[in-house]
C-alpha cells in the first residue's frame, strides 16, 4: 500500500488526534505562561524562602525526564482525585513547560540593563511600576524568540500524552500501526502532521517577532 493511500485512509483518525494534540499544546502553553511568570517572580524575590521553592521546582523539572513527570502526575493524581488522562496530561505538560518559561522570563528581565530600572526608580516609580512600565516591555521583546521556541517544543512534547492513553496524534499513529502492521507508514504520516503544525507556528511567530522585536525609529 502506498503512503498516499495511507494518508487518505488515516485522515479522519489523524485529524481527531490532531485536534487533541493542539488542545493539549494550547492549554499547556497558556497555563505554563502563567506558571512561568509566577515562578520567575518567586525566583527573583527578595524572600529567600520563595527563591528556594522556585529553585527546587526548577531543579526537579529540569533534572527528570518529561515522561517520568507525566507518569508521576497521572498515577499520583488518580489516587486522590477523579481526573481524566487528558487533564492529567495538561497538568503534566504545564508543570514541565512552566519551568522552562520561568527561566525564559528570568533571562528576559535580566537582559534589561540595570540602568533602565535605575532611571525608572529615579523619577519615583515603585518597584512594580518600574517592572511593568519599563522592564517588562523590553524583556518581552528580547525573549520572543526563545518563547516561540518553547511553544514549538511544547507542541512536540504533547506526544508523551499517548503514554497515559490520551488519544492524541501520536496515539492514533500507534493504533494504526498496530492494526495494519505498517508502523513506518503511519509514524511517518504522523511526523508530517507535526511538521506541518510546527512550520505554521514558526511562520506565525516570525511575523509576531518582526512586529515586536525592533524598536521603531
Amino acid at each position: 500500500m502506498s503512503v498516499l493511500d495511507g494518508i487518505s485512509r488515516s485522515l479522519p483518525l489523524m485529524l481527531e488526534g490532531l485536534k487533541i494534540t493542539l488542545s493539549l499544546a494550547a492549554l499547556a502553553v497558556v497555563f505554563a505562561l502563567a506558571v512561568g511568570l509566577v515562578v520567575a517572580w518567586m525566583r527573583m524575590s527578595r524572600f529567600a524562602a520563595l527563591r528556594w521553592l522556585a529553585q527546587g521546582y526548577l531543579a526537579l523539572i529540569r533534572g527528570t525526564p518529561l515522561v517520568a513527570q507525566l507518569f508521576v502526575i497521572y498515577y499520583g493524581l488518580v489516587t486522590v482525585v477523579d481526573i481524566s488522562s487528558f487533564w492529567s496530561a495538561v497538568i503534566g505538560l504545564t508543570v514541565h513547560t512552566g519551568a522552562y518559561m520561568a527561566e525564559i522570563f528570568r533571562s528576559g528581565v535580566q537582559s534589561v540593563p540595570k540602568g533602565q530600572t535605575e532611571s525608572a526608580r529615579s523619577v519615583g516609580m515603585s518597584r512594580t511600576q518600574a517592572l511593568r512600565i519599563v522592564v517588562a516591555p523590553q524583556a518581552f521583546r528580547s525573549i520572543l524568540p526563545s518563547l516561540g521556541n518553547q511553544f514549538i517544543i511544547a507542541v512536540k512534547d504533547t506526544a508523551v500524552a499517548s503514554f497515559i492513553t490520551v488519544p492524541d496524534l501520536f496515539m492514533q499513529a500507534q493504533k494504526l500501526a498496530a492494526a495494519t502492521y505498517e508502523p513506518l507508514t503511519y509514524y511517518l504520516i504522523s511526523a508530517v502532521y507535526y511538521l506541518a503544525v510546527v512550520m505554521l507556528l514558526t511562520a506565525l511567530l516570525r511575523r509576531l517577532e518582526r512586529r515586536h522585536t525592533r524598536y521603531a525609529i
Binding site: P113, E118, S119, R121, S122, G124, Q129
Partner: protein
C-alpha cells in the same frame, strides 16, 4: 566651626536651611569604605560641581542622595525631610530629586515624548493633556521639540542626554543631580548638553553635578567640591579650588586633570 578646609564658602545665607543636608555620610561596599564621613550642604539655587579622582566616591554620593544606594550611617535631609528607605518615602522623595545619568538610560521602547510624560502621569498622577503640553515645552527648551515622536535610539548621544534632562525636569524636582552627563558623549556633542545645563543653572535650579568639564565648573558652579578617598578634601569658589588648591589632594588631582 567646621574644619577650615571644608568650611562652606559662598553658599546661601546661614539662616536659610540648605535644600540638601548631608551629615557624616558613611557607606561601604563590603570591606571597601567608599564614603567616609561626608558633610555637605546644598543651598537652594546653588550649583555645586563635584570633582575628584576615579573611585573617590562621587557617583556613590549622588546615588545616596536619591536613595539608589543606601547609606550605612549619617543623615540626609532633603527639603526639610529626612531620607527614609521604605518604598513610599523613597518614591515620594525621588519625585523631588531629578537624576541624569552618564549613559542617559532613556527607555528605548518609548517615544521621546513618552519618556518625558510617563512619570508625571503614572507616578505623580497629573493630567495627561497638561503633562503633554509641559513636556513639549521642556523639549522645546532643550531644543528637541521636533523629535518628540522619534525613538531614543534614533537620536545622537547629545540629543538623548537632553531628553533625559527634560525627563527629569518633567517631575518638577527641587534639585537636579548629574553624574558625568557628558562623559559618554563624542567631544562635539558635549557643548549642547552643557549649554542646557547652563540654562538650567541660570533659571535658578539647584544642581549638583559630577563632571570633568573644568570650563563648565569655572563659569557655572557657585562652589566646587573636591572629593578624595570618600571624603571632601577641599571646597570653595571655583577659582579658589581650581587655581589655588590648598590640599595636597587637590593639587595632585588638578595636575592630573591638566595633564590630559
Amino acid at each position: 566651626m567646621p574644619h577650615p578646609d571644608t568650611a562652606p564658602q559662598d553658599t546661601a545665607p546661614q539662616d536659610v536651611p540648605p535644600l540638601v543636608r548631608m551629615r557624616d555620610i558613611r557607606k561601604s561596599f563590603g570591606a571597601h569604605t567608599v564614603l567616609d564621613g561626608v558633610d555637605l550642604d546644598i543651598g537652594t539655587g546653588e550649583v555645586v560641581v563635584l570633582i575628584g579622582a576615579s573611585g573617590a566616591g562621587k557617583s556613590t554620593l549622588l546615588r545616596c542622595v536619591n536613595g539608589l544606594e543606601r547609606i550605612d550611617s549619617g543623615e540626609i535631609v532633603i527639603d526639610g525631610r529626612e531620607l527614609r528607605y521604605d518604598e513610599k518615602s523613597l518614591n515620594l522623595m525621588r519625585r523631588r530629586v531629578g537624576m541624569v545619568f552618564q549613559h542617559f538610560n532613556l527607555w528605548p521602547h518609548k517615544s521621546v515624548l513618552d519618556n518625558v510624560t510617563t512619570a508625571p502621569v503614572k507616578v505623580a498622577g497629573r493630567d495627561p493633556r497638561q503633562v503633554r503640553d509641559v513636556a513639549l515645552e521642556l523639549l522645546d527648551q532643550v531644543g528637541l521639540k521636533r523629535f518628540a515622536d522619534r525613538y531614543p535610539m534614533s537620536l545622537s548621544g547629545g540629543q538623548q542626554q537632553r531628553v533625559a534632562i527634560a525627563r527629569a525636569l518633567a517631575m518638577r524636582p527641587k534639585v537636579m543631580l548629574f553624574d558625568e552627563p557628558t562623559s559618554a558623549l563624542d567631544p562635539e556633542l558635549v557643548g549642547e548638553v552643557l549649554a542646557v545645563m547652563r540654562d538650567l543653572a541660570d533659571s535658578g535650579m539647584t544642581m549638583v553635578a559630577v563632571t570633568h568639564e573644568m570650563r563648565f565648573a569655572r563659569s557655572v558652579a557657585d562652589r566646587v567640591v573636591l572629593m578624595a578617598d570618600g571624603k571632601i578634601a577641599e571646597q570653595g569658589p571655583p577659582t579658589a579650588v581650581l587655581d589655588n588648591p590648598r590640599s595636597e589632594r587637590g593639587r595632585a588631582f588638578l595636575r592630573q586633570v591638566e595633564s590630559v
